[in-house]
């Protein structure tokens, strides 16, 4: 199929196999922030925003990216405040879950600008983190949410 989509604001058009994974497509185009942790939609390391919605890119066939806007952390502005808070508040350790986690946090803040702990717990439950115990991640989100 001929795939037209936008990745981090860059318009792409090329011939692809519709059943191929969005994960592999993005990585092959330099978005190596998109990590493969499990390949079955369980860990969230490959999470990206597809038309503003959090999805696991390992579960998205390219057919479903047609005409879509895809955002990875490479597409966030350099001064993205949330990313900075992840650095300072202990939101990242090994870093493998981090890009997906940052995007999950962005998706949360977009629909709920001042999330409480329960809301954060719910929103991040599909992004496994083995390092932080989530406390540093919550601190980062809370900092980003603060006025």
């Amino acid at each position: 199929m001929r795939l037209r989509c936008s990745v981090n604001g860059r318009r792409l058009a090329e011939t692809v196999c519709p059943a191929d994974r969005l994960l592999d497509y993005l990585r092959a185009r330099g978005c190596t922030s998109v990590k493969e942790g499990c390949g079955e939609g369980e860990c969230g390391a490959c999470a990206v925003l597809l038309n503003g919605r959090l999805v696991n890119s390992c579960l998205v066939p390219l057919a479903h990216a047609e005409d879509a806007d895809v955002l990875t952390v490479e597409g966030l502005p350099d001064d993205d405040p949330l990313s900075g808070h992840f650095v300072f508040e202990g939101g990242t350790q090994c870093g493998m879950c981090t890009p997906g986690m940052v995007l999950a946090a962005h998706a949360l803040l977009a629909e709920c600008p001042r999330p409480d702990r329960a809301r954060m717990q719910e929103a991040l439950a599909g992004n496994l983190c083995r390092c932080t115990g989530f406390e540093g991640i919550y601190r980062a989100i809370a900092r980003a949410a603060a006025p």
Partner: protein, 741 residues
């Protein structure tokens, strides 16, 4: 917290922006993808390997045990484990054939066309009791005994005897393991995910027969490890190297998918402890007699050192005149178990801390009271025969209870349980310590070296072989060096731990990087200042500008400035025969408090709140330190409640998918509240001690003690699944601990 105490993580921005390069991101052009074909039976002989005629084998790089130029072993403590099986093997999942090809699909087709003909061996053994039953056949890998006084002969007014078990635990670092190897111009360069570059170098040199100097190991960003990338990276590196040797000039990428990683890489050793405790009627411990056994799996790997740490921690931070801990590591037909955060201590501490609660119930005193009467204080002698100085464990217990509002919560739990029908609440505690650095004389044998490379403009590179796997070592070591040199944090970087460039400062394990390597770097920094003063005109005192000027003068006059320093062993010694002496450079000490709620509809346990107070000597970076504790506790909660490794009939992990191995998610974890105390008496830089493993020790016993308190039952193993809670409640019905439902 100010910016000096809490500078940004060195690796922070690269990680949040997705720029950090992990092994899967190396993206070499012209790469050969590789895979491993393995045994299926739990022990036996490889009779033949059949190669499907439909495959054009000439297109592939193929390696078998016949292609090993050096010794066919993975060098570790003993060299009993083959790099590739040629004949006999001991477990399902042992590597036999390696394949590489530029196209992944073609690789998968060829892998499916290799058939290993296996003859079964003697009946496999998969659990500790069965292994002990045949122990006469020499299947005990290692046995140790810690002796203080004479526990066998000691008598006590009140005795408790219980059996406690812990299950295997999978690391589930989010980055699966992998290596990329390339052999060119007589040098083998291997990049990948690892904790111990020099272990990998030594093992690859042995298997390939190349001189160590021709094997260059370069760690890339390591996406979590927790001990899981201590020994196994050597296997993958050897395999990638063997393929690379047959395809000179090509990069060979051997990266496991999640299912393979979970099936074949080591897990935490399962354990079984029989704990006998004796006390007088006032609750003072008279003896502790502990039989601690771990399942080593099919090969020795690291089991002896896991065992020794387990044995030393088995008797806890308690005062007791007669202590005996017998430790054994037994052989089974599981894939070998290995290093995992805590390294044997979480297993033996679980047993003792649950037994302490059981003894308290037996004595009719509270678990708090029993501990308060027996915890080590200043001047007491530990079970390892070491005099404790500057530590007041009863005070730590007291302050933990006060901070966590233990008494009020206890009352609230009782009120809840009297009122509510569908759930029960309870509190549990654990008091424990964890030694940092290699056990016993290990650091002496390691004789680590680390150093600093000082550039003309005043920036400094740390040269050590420890890797950043998320624990924050780049940040904490940079802080230690910046402090020691009185220069800005930004001027200090940790060099890539390339074995061609950095000295061997030992493996990145055992909570040793900050404490041991940090201390060596402090010494190196002192040497740098001395040389700059002598030959660069550095004034005393100096500011950063003067430091930079001193560096410039030194470089102009004398050339590059590199200062290497070595580990200096303390005077205290360790007796390997009796397990008496100074087992560790220093300890971290802690009291953890868990509050749980057990749902009587589903039998599910929720940790409502987790409180952790620890004495850590000194904190280098408050956020990094808190992150170690918070993350370790989360892993401990998983170890306690959800993370069950289910073994198949072949002895290999059967639930080897992320969907079936149950990690706690954000929704499963309680608020984790961390309090540090800092007495400045650790053996590391300015009194710091290691803290990475400590938080793994406390959660499981605190949580099980809380569940038992909530329900009046006597669970004695982890993980505690809802199915186990249900069985315990059923078992208790009508019995001594009847629960009114």
């Amino acid at each position: 917290m100010n910016a000096r105490e809490c500078p940004p993580r060195k690796d922070g921005y690269d990680k949040v922006r997705g720029r950090a390069r992990y092994v899967a991101d190396l993206g070499r052009a012209d790469v050969l993808h590789a895979c491993t074909i393995r045994t299926r039976l739990p022990g036996g002989r490889v009779a033949a390997v059949h190669w499907g005629p439909e495959v054009a084998w000439a297109e592939y790089v193929v390696v078998t045990g016949d292609d090993i130029p050096g010794r066919n072993c993975v060098q570790m403590i003993t060299d009993d484990q083959p790099a590739l099986v040629k004949d006999r093997f001991r477990h399902a999942g042992e590597p036999v054939v390696l394949l590489a090809h530029p196209d992944r699909r073609a690789l998968a087709q060829a892998a499916a066309a290799v058939r290993i003909e296996e003859e079964p061996g003697a009946g496999p053994v998969f659990d500790i009791d069965a292994a002990l039953a045949r122990a006469a056949d020499g299947t005990v890998f290692q046995e140790y005994e810690l002796r203080k006084g004479d526990a066998a002969k000691a008598a006590a007014e009140i005795e408790w005897r219980g059996t406690y078990v812990t299950g295997a635990q999978e690391h589930l670092y989010i980055e699966p393991q992998g290596m990329v190897a390339c052999y060119q111009d007589g040098t083998l360069i291997i990049e990948g995910s690892m904790q111990c570059p020099y272990y990998v170098q030594a093992a690859v040199a042995v298997a390939t027969g190349l001189p160590a100097g021709s094997v260059r190991i370069r760690p890339c960003a390591t996406g979590g490890a927790f001990g899981g990338k201590e020994e196994y990276p050597s296997h993958i590196a050897i395999h990638a190297a063997l393929l690379a040797l047959k395809a000179p000039g090509r990069s060979v990428s051997l990266i496991y998918d999640r299912a393979e990683d979970m099936a074949v890489t080591p897990k935490r050793h399962p354990s079984r402890s029989i704990v006998r405790l004796g006390a007088d009627r006032h609750g003072r411990l008279r003896f502790m007699d502990i039989d601690f056994v771990i399942d080593g799996g099919a090969y020795v790997t690291l089991s002896p050192v896991v065992l020794s740490r387990g044995v030393i921690h088995a008797a806890g931070p308690y005062r007791c005149p007669h202590v005996r801990v017998r430790g054994r590591a037994v052989a089974t037909n599981h894939p070998p178990f290995g290093a995992f955060r805590g390294f044997g201590a979480p297993q033996s501490i679980f047993a003792l801390e649950c037994a302490m609660d059981d003894l308290a119930r037996h004595l009719g005193v509270s678990p708090v009271e029993l501990r308060a009467r027996n915890l080590l204080g200043d001047g007491d002698v530990s079970p390892a025969g070491q005099r404790v100085e500057g530590i007041d464990m009863p005070g730590i217990l007291r302050r933990a209870l006060a901070h966590s509002a233990y008494d009020e919560r206890q009352k609230a739990c009782r009120a809840w349980n009297a009122r509510e029908k569908r759930s029960r609440r309870g509190l549990g505690i654990a008091t424990f310590y964890h030694g940092a650095g290699f056990t016993g004389n290990g650091e002496r044998h390691l004789a680590s070296r680390a150093g600093l490379r000082v550039r003309a403009e005043g920036t400094v590179e740390i040269l050590c072989s420890n890797t950043e796997m998320g624990q924050g070592m780049q940040t904490t070591l940079a802080q230690i060096v910046a402090d020691a040199l009185t220069i800005p944090y930004d001027w200090v970087q940790v060099a890539v731990a390339d074995t061609g460039d950095v000295p061997n400062s030992g493996p990145t394990v055992a909570s040793r990087t900050c404490m041991v390597v940090g201390r060596i770097l402090e010494q190196a920094a002192a040497d740098v200042l001395e040389r700059l003063r002598a030959q660069g005109g550095l004034p005393v005192p100096h500011d950063p500008q003067a430091f930079a000027q001193g560096c410039a003068r030194f470089h102009a006059a004398c050339g590059p400035l590199v200062c290497m320093s070595e580990y200096v062993a303390p005077a205290s010694a360790w007796n390997e025969a009796t397990f008496q002496g100074a087992p560790y450079g220093s300890f971290a000490w802690a009291c953890y408090v868990a509050e749980v709620e057990v749902d009587l509809v589903t039998y599910a346990v929720t940790v409502r709140d987790f409180f952790a107070l620890q004495e850590v000597g000194r904190i280098v970076h408050p956020v990094v330190a808190a992150g170690q504790i918070e993350g370790g506790i989360a892993q401990g909660i998983g170890f306690a409640l959800t993370e069950k490794v289910v073994f198949g009939a072949d002895g290999v992990m059967a639930n080897n998918r992320v969907t079936n191995y149950i990690l706690p998610t954000s929704a499963d974890l309680p608020p984790i509240r961390v309090v540090f105390e800092q007495n400045g008496q650790g053996a590391g830089p300015r009194g710091a001690t290691g803290i990475g493993e400590l938080p793994m020790d406390g959660p499981a016993p605190a949580i099980v003690n809380a569940i038992n308190a909530a329900l009046g039952i006597a669970l004695s193993g982890v993980p505690v699944l809802p199915e186990d809670v249900m069985a315990a409640i059923e078992g208790a019905k009508g019995g001594r601990h009847a629960i009114a439902l």
